[in-house]
Amino acid sequence: MGASGSGKTSMRSLIFSNNPASLTSRLGATIDVEQNHVRFLGDLILNLWDCGGQDAFMDSYLSTQQSTIFSHVGVLIYVFEVMSQNMQKDLEYYTDCLKALRKYSPEASVFLLVHKMDLVRAPQRRTVLDKKMRELKQVSGEMAVTLFGTSIYDETLYKAWSNIVHTLIPNVSILTKHLTTLADACSATEVVLFERTTFLVIATSAPPPTTTEPPQPISPPTVPSPNTSEGSTSSHRNAFSGSSTPFGPTSRTTSPPPPPVTSPLSSSTLDFSDDQSVTQDANGDPTPSDPHQLDATRYERTSELIKAFKHTCARVRDEFHTLEMELADFTAVLDELTKNTYVLVVVHNPTIETAALRMNIRLARKKFEEIQGDNVVA
């Protein structure tokens, strides 16, 4: 919801309908409510209600249609224009909507988007946004709200929406755990799961417990691993110089083991790292925060870049499928994981080949499809 012309339908068009930002100017005013059923992650269906913001509609939402609009709401996203003409009116409508929401769907989470940030000149953006945020927080009273500054012309919109849908996905922790296992198997710095059509970030792998060093080889060789060679090289990187590991210097298994076995897996890794604590410390400060100092906006920027490129491909009537790159700073593979998701594997170890990463992704596919199959919307 939001005032007329604040950008709700443009946002929806950009993220869910894959239209480029430049074409949003052609969108007309929304009449009453437009409903979108968006299939997200296969089984999760998002029922998006884009409510027209003109005064007549707003008045009707708040009076006659109150129970229709505000019941059974999971998330309320209220859009404010950063350079609004009549902020007072916006705030009035907002407080009214908030009251109605509290009455009919007290469990709903509220997100506030301060939109069209591109209209503010870059140096002033931070201050203007902070000021707006303070104002909105004050108006919201004791209701817990999350605020974002967004614009359809850069990656901030993806960040906001990724956060929003993140709260709706039921089994994020399981996904994270499995993504971390995949990251371990690939000696990757990071593994990110994207939804296929919108390219919003669903989950990412957890950063490794200590430093950036690739994790230790583990024993169960159920599947021959393509990572054998780099497994040995990377362990040599830790200067074990041939000392035999407790688990044997063999292959890494790539198919993540079924859940009961997972916990011994992680605990054994931890034990192992404790044994070799000398090496760990020697490898630089094991800061709990990101030792790589990767760009903080990388997720949403990736979403934005890939989405824009997908659109370019579509213009040439070719559909984007997969991407792999071996650049000077890292190696990455973006491939489809299940029929609804894409996975991005980022590796900083230069000895790892993209073909190996692809193979791991292929082997992990089955497991992830299984996880999603169990995923039932409440």
Binding site: T189, T233, S241, Q293, I306, D318, E319, H321, L327, D329
Partner: protein, 420 residues
């Protein structure tokens, strides 16, 4: 808004007077090919320069100030360039004899400005060109084409073209010898890049050589199209002999832009290795690109793969317990001489590459590939996916030869320009 990603070197010198310094003064003593950018006020010259060479977002050009002085920009790509961006009020007489040092003149006309003024100005420039430098390439960019719809665009284009030609004819018959090229451009799509690419290609003597290399490559790898592009500006400097499809070029340019933007996102402060494996004189110190303070451990002695002359370098920011067993290469004090390149010809063995597979719609599936050739140039090709998947090794083998060829040609040109 000027970004330097280490690939191109860009410097701008704004000059106080309308008399720009002669070229011999340029700081790096290299003979540069000069391009002159002129046109009326607000026709879009500076935004053209900023969008192409300075990574400026087209929408941000709205905020550019009007130029008041002649600005000299240098830009290094396959050939070193010097681009002079002149404010609208400069008359041809101001430059006078200096016109003879330019290889190309680009006159920018705003497509909506159908009055007499730009055309009269253009004719003035034609006269000056005829007087001082009849061999110069004269290009006219009918700019801001995005403002009009498709039909009106081409109508206006043709109108301007015919009016200019008429005017030139009327002024003097001799001027007809000067060939003028017209292009329709806009900063919001790839038309500007394509037109400027064609301008650049005319200025490059080595272009036929590059083209030949690419032709051979395409023939041997079944690639449908290949572009040798400048990374920063995304202009294509050479392509194979088949006709250029604007959409294919647009796809490659966008791909390049995406890869450029992707690079910095995942650059790690600690673990990004300089992947420069080098083959060269034994015991030559490896080129050091980061962490000069940390000791470098050549791991080839330990690594299981037998790679005798190669030295793999990882910047481990701490001391390793096992000291290097071989080679006198000073682990603690690597010299970055290799980067000057002349004394020790170390061959880099790692070049970034990327590929994107596209699903088929009408015809067979294509893969778009990117191979870095020199620090300024990249090869972008469109291959059938089946070829790429089955015979990738062969394709990359061919790329190696293309790379060596391009580098040799580039070195020859470079030597020539440095006053060899």
């Amino acid at each position: 808004m000027a970004t330097s990603n280490g690939y191109g070197s860009i410097s701008s010198t704004s000059l106080a007077t309308a008399q720009p310094q002669p070229s011999g003064d340029s700081s790096d003593n290299v003979i540069r090919t000069k391009i002159l950018l002129v046109g009326l006020r607000k026709s879009g010259k500076t935004s053209i320069y900023e969008t192409l060479f300075n990574d400026c977002d087209p929408k941000q050009t709205f905020y550019l100030d009007t130029s008041t002085r002649i600005t000299r920009h240098t830009y290094d790509t396959a050939i070193p360039l010097e681009i002079w961006d002149c404010p609208g009020i400069i008359a041809p007489e101001t430059l006078g004899g200096q016109l003879s040092q330019f290889s190309s003149l680009i006159f920018v006309i705003d497509i909506q400005n159908l009055l007499q003024e730009p055309i009269a100005k253009l004719v003035d420039w034609v006269a000056a060109v005829y007087r001082y430098n009849p061999l110069m390439n004269l290009e006219v960019f009918v700019h801001k084409a995005d403002v009009l719809t498709e039909d009106y665009k081409w109508d206006a284009f043709r109108t301007i073209q015919s009016r200019v030609n008429d005017e030139i004819q009327e002024t003097s018959e001799e001027y007809e010898q000067i060939s003028v090229n017209f292009s329709l451009t806009s900063i919001y799509d790839h038309s500007l890049h394509e037109s400027f690419s064609k301008v650049l290609q005319k200025l490059m003597d080595t272009m036929p050589a590059y083209e030949e290399l690419i032709n051979v490559f395409c023939a041997n790898s079944q690639s449908s199209k290949a572009f040798l592009c400048d990374i920063k500006s995304r202009l294509y400097l050479a392509t194979d002999a088949s006709p250029v499809d604007t959409q294919d070029y647009g796809l490659c340019a966008d791909y390049l832009q995406m890869l450029n933007s992707f690079g910095p996102l995942y650059r790690s402060a600690t673990a990004s290795p300089p992947r420069h494996r080098t083959v060269g004189a034994l015991h030559s110190p490896p080129p050091e690109l980061s962490n000069p303070a940390s000791p470098i451990v050549p791991l080839s002695a330990i690594s299981s793969a037998s790679q005798t002359p190669k030295v793999q370098v990882f910047p481990i920011p701490s001391t390793s317990p096992t000291p290097p067993t071989r080679s006198s290469s000073s682990a603690s004090n690597p010299q970055p001489e290799a980067s000057t390149g002349r004394q020790q010809k170390l061959k880099n063995l790692f070049y970034p590459s990327a590929s994107t597979s596209l699903l088929p719609s009408s015809s067979s599936a294509r893969t778009l590939t990117y191979y870095l050739i020199t620090p300024h140039l990249a090869l972008l090709t469109l291959l059938p996916t089946s070829v790429f998947e089955d015979k990738r090794g062969l394709v990359e083998y061919n790329v190696v030869f293309l790379r060596e060829g391009v580098q040799e040609i580039y070195e020859v040109e470079d030597e020539l320009r440095r006053g060899g």
